[in-house]
Each structure stands twice: as structure tokens, then as C-alpha cells.
């Protein structure tokens, strides 16, 4: 009940949205497509949910071919598109009923699957979907995508524009759904969410930069990373940019993350340079890379 993608390409006019993409999602896996706008994530979702036909390559979902067996796939999968696409003029309950009916089932029949999520919006069941807050819309959309008990769930940027609290809750929900034998393919531009997936593909410009478990991607980071801080952030950015030893220097929260071109680079070398530039309160410490460091290094 997994997903298999082989050499998929898709272009719109001159833009190559997907460029020879191949990967497998194992049954029961929570798999993340991580990348910014324009990486090709939505195009891939639309091909896998049979809404778009690839120019080249093949793909199967739960063993069915996305072109020849599209009807079977549509019954088997749940899809939550990036843009809110429920009926704004129907109430919460009417939307859910509508999707259940379309798939030949009832809310009662699969209630256990959506219960955790639906109880949070049930107090508003008579409110029109268009009048819900962002977080509630997201929960309703997920309920509607789940109401027919899909084998595979496609979630296209379910947490974009959502605050950190609601994002955390949403991922807790996904972890629970995974326990119920649903294969989940989810995309996100938030790199910190990558750590919550079993495996991830880092995507940009229609290509996969790297595919592995998040901890393996971090472990494969090729350089030592130092976190650097001084009293003056703006000047620190400028000075690190022109330092002859700099391979990369990016703001990372309250620190800068710095990597050197030299493999035997030491914190003292940088401290000496910054002292020479009259920086105060200098702090340089070796640190662990994050998925975001990996992404930036790979897309450099």
C-alpha cells in the first residue's frame, strides 16, 4: 500500500516542474517532501492523485497505476490540497456529510478515524466552512480527506501559514493516524517539521537533492558547523561574508552558522579574526547541523 515513483517528469511551457523524479514510499510510512515554493511538490501530488498526467515516467499508488487505474486510486486515497477547497457555503457538518456520501459511506461508519480531530471542530458544526479560522479549516479539511478511510493520505502543505502551536498539534494527529496503518505523504516548507517524518526527500527546482531518514541526512553533513555570536549582528554578517576562510555563513536564530573551506578549521581562528574586527562578546562554538543547514548546503 505504498507509493512508487519512477522517472517522473512534467513541464509547463518552458518551466520544468518535475525533472526525472524517482522514489518509493513504504507501506505505513510517514514520508515528507521538504522544499520551498516552486520545488514541484504540488505537481507531484497532483500526478499521484491522478489529477494530472506526467509527461514521462510511471507511478503507482497502493499498487495501482496512476494513469490506467485512476478510478481505483481515487477511491483509495485521501487528498488535502494546499489551497482550502471545501465548500465555503456549506456548514462543517454538511461538508463532512457530502464527502462521506460521495465515497458511499457515512460519518458514523468511520467516525473512530476522525474522532480525535472532529471533536475539536464539532462545537462549530453548524458554522459555514468559509467562516472558520485557519486552524479549524485545516482540521475540517483533514476530516473530509479521512472520512472514507483511505489507505494512502496526501497532504499538500497542510501547515503553511499556521502558527507553531497548531502546527505541533497537527503533527501529533499525523503520528496517531500513522498508527492506524495509513501511509502518509506530506509536504512542507518548514524544515523543522522534517525531523518528524520517517524519511524525507529534500526538493528544489523539480529535483530531489537528497532522500533519507532525517537523522541520516544530518549525519551526512560534510562540514563542521560553528555557531557564532557577537554584540553586533549586522556587522557580524558583513564581516563573515568577506572572511577569506568562509564557505558559508547564514543567520540562524540568535546565532550565525559558519562553515569553513578548511577541514582543520578551529574556533580560535575565527575568534582571532573577529577580535581583529573589533567585535565584542564573541562566542564561537561547534554545533550540530540541522535539516535546514543540509538543505542550504545541498542547494548552494
Amino acid at each position: 500500500m505504498g507509493i512508487s515513483v519512477k522517472h517522473i517528469s512534467k513541464s509547463y511551457d518552458k518551466v520544468r516542474a518535475l525533472d526525472d523524479i524517482s522514489f518509493e514510499v513504504k507501506p505505513g510510512e510517514l514520508f515528507g517532501l521538504i522544499g520551498p515554493d516552486g520545488a514541484g511538490k504540488t505537481t507531484l501530488f497532483r500526478i499521484l492523485t491522478t489529477l494530472l498526467i506526467a509527461d514521462k515516467g510511471e507511478a503507482t499508488v497502493a499498487g495501482y497505476d496512476v494513469v490506467n487505474d485512476y478510478k481505483a486510486i481515487r477511491n483509495l486515497v485521501g487528498y488535502m490540497p494546499g489551497r482550502f477547497s471545501l465548500y465555503q457555503d456549506l456548514t462543517v457538518e454538511e461538508n463532512l456529510n457530502f464527502f462521506a456520501t460521495i465515497f458511499g459511506t457515512t460519518i458514523e461508519e468511520n467516525y473512530d478515524l476522525i474522532k480525535d480531530i472532529y471533536v475539536q471542530i464539532e462545537p462549530f458544526k453548524n458554522r459555514r466552512a468559509g467562516k472558520l479560522s485557519g486552524g479549524m479549516k485545516q482540521k475540517l479539511a483533514l476530516s473530509c480527506a479521512l472520512i472514507h478511510k483511505p489507505k494512502v493520505l496526501f497532504l499538500d502543505e497542510p501547515t503553511t501559514g499556521v502558527d507553531p502551536v497548531s502546527r505541533k498539534e497537527f503533527w501529533e494527529i499525523l503520528k496517531r493516524l500513522q498508527q492506524k496503518d495509513i501511509t502518509i505523504l506530506v509536504s512542507t516548507p518548514y524544515m523543522d517539521e522534517a525531523a518528524l517524518c520517517d524519511r524525507i526527500a529534500l526538493m528544489t527546482g523539480g529535483q530531489i537533492l537528497q532522500l533519507s531518514a532525517p537523522e541520516a541526512i544530518i549525519a551526512s553533513f560534510p562540514k563542521k558547523i560553528f555557531k557564532v555570536r557577537t554584540a553586533e549582528t549586522y556587522r557580524l554578517i558583513q564581516d563573515l561574508k568577506v572572511f577569506t576562510q568562509t564557505h558559508s555563513a547564514y543567520p540562524f536564530g540568535e546565532y550565525m552558522h559558519f562553515t569553513s573551506m578548511e577541514s582543520d578549521f578551529k574556533a580560535e581562528d575565527l575568534i582571532r579574526y573577529l577580535k581583529g574586527k573589533k567585535h565584542k562578546n564573541i562566542e564561537v562554538l561547534e554545533t550540530e547541523p540541522t535539516i535546514e543547514d543540509s538543505f542550504m548546503e545541498l542547494s548552494k
Partner: protein, 244 residues
């Protein structure tokens, strides 16, 4: 301006029917400060920001922005500030140059000024090959850089940025923040909302809104010490998790 503050907010409140979206908030923002305005979805950030930029009237309380009262001098407020949001920034079916000309006109710049400023902006962002292409065909990261520059056309004292970096790749996101730092360094005041908590760390001070009220306001360092956590993300989760 008193104490070098450029935004003064006192007991600002906005109600819609019997719902209080912004509940008696007070704070100041200093000139040249990068001020992060955080909160969960629905906490009242957008409503508060709309009052500060002069497009929504407070139900009670007062606010001065760049020396002007947001109630009685809303038009003067609008002329003194720049505004950029992720949702609306530029017209997709105009070229970069046309967008600059259009917004320059809206801000009341002279034709000759618009011409010089357009050229400066295009030089600065190195967009010579793209200047006459439709904005809709540009990558999101570029659009946002252009939008930010356009919001600076009329040389405002304060720039309001509403989730400026959503969906942008990590490198472009950082380049965008370098532009923000550069403007702050020149003395501009930056008022910014974001859902990226690492960006909250870049701010001089941050406020966190919960259910219409400002629950915390301090430097990221002090907030982390106060709540005894390692990151702004944890501060945010601690404060905002208890609601609803």
C-alpha cells in the same frame, strides 16, 4: 518624538459585535528597532496591525505611529509607513518596472523621482534582465525582494511586514532578513509578523499576543531566561498552548 519611540500604543481595543479581537494592548516601539509581533492564528495580530497602519478604526484606546494619530490622521500615517504582506504585494500582470511606477504614483512621488528610484532599485537588486518581465513569472523569493523594495520607495520611517517570508526557500529567507537588517541599520523601524520562530530570534524585541492581549514583551534573550527555555519556539509554545 518622546524617548525616541516611533510607535506609541495605549489601551488599544477593537471589538466586532461582542467579540474582542484586540483587548486593551499597550506598548512602544523605538526608532530603528526590529520589533517582532507574534501570536497564534486568530490571536488578533492582523487586527492590531490594521489599526496601526490606519486602515481600521480602534473601538477605544489610542495609537500614534510616526507622530500621527491613527484615528484622526490615518492618511498621514499611511504616507509615513511602508507595508508589505505575503498575500498581497505586487500586481502579477504588470512588469517589475510597471509595478514600481504604479506604487510610486500611489505614494505621490514625482515622475522624475519615480524614474530615478526605479533605476536605483533595479540596479540594487540586479534585475536588469527581468525588469520588463511580468511579476507573475518570477520566483516567489524575487517577488518578495521587489515587494520589500517597493514598500521603501517613498522613504517611510516604519516598515510593516506581515509574514514576509512564508514559503520561501531558506537561503532566500535569510537574504531577505539581511535586507531587513540593512534597513534597520539605516535607522528604519521594522514591525514584522512571522510564524518562523528562528526569525523571532533576529528581532530586537518581540511581543506575543494570546487571545487579544499581549502576554509577553521583551528581548528574545530575556524571554528565554524568564521561561527557562532554549528557544523562542519553546517560549511561544509555553505561552500560546494554554488557550482555547
Amino acid at each position: 518624538m518622546k524617548n525616541g519611540n516611533i510607535i506609541h500604543v495605549k489601551n488599544l481595543t477593537k471589538t466586532f459585535g461582542d467579540f474582542t479581537a484586540v483587548d486593551n494592548i499597550s506598548f512602544q516601539v523605538g526608532k530603528g528597532e526590529v520589533f517582532g509581533f507574534l501570536g497564534a492564528n486568530g490571536a488578533g495580530k492582523t487586527t492590531a496591525m490594521k489599526m496601526l497602519i490606519g486602515i481600521s478604526k480602534p473601538s477605544s484606546g489610542e495609537a500614534q505611529v510616526a507622530g500621527f494619530d491613527v484615528k484622526s490622521q490615518a492618511e498621514k500615517v499611511k504616507r509615513s509607513i511602508g507595508y508589505m504582506s505575503q498575500r498581497f504585494s505586487l500586481y502579477n500582470d504588470l512588469t517589475i518596472r510597471e509595478n514600481i511606477t504604479f506604487f510610486g504614483g500611489i505614494y505621490g512621488l514625482k515622475k522624475s523621482d519615480i524614474k530615478t528610484k526605479s533605476q536605483n532599485l533595479i540596479d540594487e537588486l540586479d534585475l536588469h534582465d527581468e525588469a520588463d518581465k511580468l511579476v507573475g513569472s518570477l520566483p516567489l523569493g524575487w517577488k518578495q525582494k521587489v515587494a520589500f523594495s517597493v514598500s521603501l520607495l517613498h522613504d517611510p520611517q516604519i516598515i510593516f511586514l506581515d509574514e514576509p517570508t512564508g514559503g520561501v526557500d531558506p537561503i532566500t529567507r535569510r537574504k531577505f532578513w539581511e535586507m531587513i537588517y540593512r534597513e534597520a541599520h539605516k535607522g528604519k523601524t521594522i514591525f514584522v509578523t512571522t510564524h518562523y520562530m528562528d526569525e523571532a530570534e533576529y528581532c530586537d524585541r518581540v511581543s506575543i499576543m494570546v487571545a487579544g492581549k499581549i502576554e509577553a514583551l521583551d528581548t528574545p534573550k530575556n524571554l528565554k531566561e524568564k521561561y527557562k527555555v532554549e528557544s523562542m519556539n519553546q517560549v511561544f509554545l509555553k505561552l500560546a498552548r494554554n488557550i482555547e
